[in-house]
């Protein structure tokens, strides 16, 4: 299945783009997507933290993804 990645801040710089498509096995979790991203883009390992959001809500590693989900990569936030 395909999920749509949206990246902000330093995550966008690492991806080289604010959008990307990723092919995952059906039933994959955020944790599995994260592994795949860390393999593809080694710079993610340098970040202080990395979170993911689906449907505009933070989701944990065990969150199960569906075809065409929009998954947002959230590097350490720094508003204020």
């Amino acid at each position: 299945m395909k999920v749509n990645i949206l990246a902000f801040g330093i995550a966008r710089d690492i991806l080289g783009s604010s959008k990307d498509d990723v092919e995952l096995q059906d039933g994959s979790t955020i944790g599995q997507l994260k592994q795949l991203l860390f393999q593809k883009y080694s710079k993610f390992a340098d970040l202080a933290s990395i979170s993911f959001a689906v449907n505009e809500e933070y989701q944990e590693d065990d969150f199960q993804l569906n075809e065409d989900d929009e998954v947002v990569i959230i590097p350490p936030v720094s508003g204020g």
Partner: protein
Amino acid sequence: MVETECHEFVMDQGAGGTVVFVGTVRDQTQDKEVLRLEFESYQPMALKEMKKIAKTVIDRWHAFKVSIHHRVGALNIGEIAVVIAVSTPHRKAAFEACAYAIDSLKETVPIWKKEVFADGEVWVAAHP
């Protein structure tokens, strides 16, 4: 001016006190001169997370009204980046609630700040 609007919004005839936090762009960070800041946000989620903070402030401190405002885009030194205003029946609660709101905003709201120096730029807090 956004700060006055925020405060006027939270004013309530029963309020004993209103506390307003105003965060401005600082001219240096760790002794290095900052030329400007660039903020970006994942806006729909940022608004959702700000509403969660506002709801907590209302539930936990019985606030009458809460206003949370954050600018995005390029900001120069001295410009206002964030304004949070809270009105409560008693002033102690307004201080606590406003401090909670800015602390939470910095932890959970998907907004990212890039500091631009003469010799480069850096995403704040990205690296440990």
